[in-house]
Assembly symmetry: D2
Homo-oligomer: 136 residues x 4
Amino acid sequence: MYEHSTTIRVRYAETDRMDVVYYGNYAQYFEVGRVESLRALGISYKDIESMGIILPVVELQIKYLRPAKYDDLLTVKSMIKALPHDHKIEFNQEVYNEEGKLLTVGTVKLYFMDDQLQNKVEMPALMKEKLSPYFS
Amino acid sequence: MYEHSTTIRVRYAETDRMDVVYYGNYAQYFEVGRVESLRALGISYKDIESMGIILPVVELQIKYLRPAKYDDLLTVKSMIKALPHDHKIEFNQEVYNEEGKLLTVGTVKLYFMDDQLQNKVEMPALMKEKLSPYFS
Amino acid sequence: MYEHSTTIRVRYAETDRMDVVYYGNYAQYFEVGRVESLRALGISYKDIESMGIILPVVELQIKYLRPAKYDDLLTVKSMIKALPHDHKIEFNQEVYNEEGKLLTVGTVKLYFMDDQLQNKVEMPALMKEKLSPYFS
Amino acid sequence: MYEHSTTIRVRYAETDRMDVVYYGNYAQYFEVGRVESLRALGISYKDIESMGIILPVVELQIKYLRPAKYDDLLTVKSMIKALPHDHKIEFNQEVYNEEGKLLTVGTVKLYFMDDQLQNKVEMPALMKEKLSPYFS
């Protein structure tokens, strides 16, 4: 399993009139978590796209256990529990507040796709190389 | 079953560099769909909140089948398949483009909560009255 | 002068914990106003982009007079006070609530640019043709 | 003069189909810059709100010189050039990319307001105390 954590400070813009983070904004927190988890491995998501591979999200599941509040310093944990062996990658993601309380749990599935041909492809070799050591 | 459709025009702000609607923005489309489906019944979500009842989302599931593009006139369908009998309400939601292609399918679960006491409550009487005729 | 109005319903997502529309979200309302004002003339902003012309915003000014609230049905007025004669177009924009109160006043300047060459260009002939009758 | 810089990584969600940061999202970057500039002084904006003082934005001006791109690590500079002596505070804000190029220049004016009474008030004593040393 590969696991990585990053922190995000809740912006005023991300709250709503219920005085909590709007439910749709966790998709952004998850995105930041995934991108930073790859960067920590030496993989730039931007570079993957420059190579002509895009990773559209095909499925999102989130459970909201407790609200995040304005100015909270959240910890977003991103986990890859299985090494992708086909065109799909799955992230398990969790959001914690500063007291270590679990606020949100989610799963995000993405496809590896050729940007030009618009068809599914295998995980880029660089990602396989960097991720493999965590799954032996 | 209660079912309602509303249309939403994709804003430039809602697209991302992949030239499609960002995956997190469907949460807003679903929100608009739910609110308009209630308004069509004579229920103002704003008024429910004024009565001290809030409806936080506790679960969100989305499958992304096809991308929505800039300036698309989307149809958001919102369905309530079972009359809530406790503190929970579930919406099934679908997004279609102008050619009638299904782009996104989702489920949203919300709790009825007392804003002050922060505990779960039953569906407000007004909502029960308006929704009941669709479930006999 | 060319003038056009369109309506926008305030989404929950667009409010913040101050219980008003977040100040940055008016940029989206202005965008919708501009795009709809062009559509009313028979000009699709999307088609302009398909022709290889983009209109990046180069300047934005907004004065916030009164807050917009959740579920308000806003009227966004977009005005072109001078027919563009070079690479620049300016929109004057105003946001009103349902009681007709002026909430926000703004100005947006955009450049006409060639998407490939990334240099400034003149207003597309179609836009000139559609706009000219309002400035004689 | 008081001056402070903070960094922000551009999220995928913040880009648009023009492959740059959407013009409205700079309001969020400016917000983060202001809040962090106050935090560096020992002032929590959240605490100010807890004291019943809110700071609605009353004016925003932005010039867009160069686009910010996906994954850019931006530097947001926030400057207070004059010590507020009435109910108004003004921030000058600038956004730079990693090569030190100036992308965006802006000005944001905010009022100090009593949240309950909804009238203008003076700058809280704590802010005056922390800011004064920079203006002697």
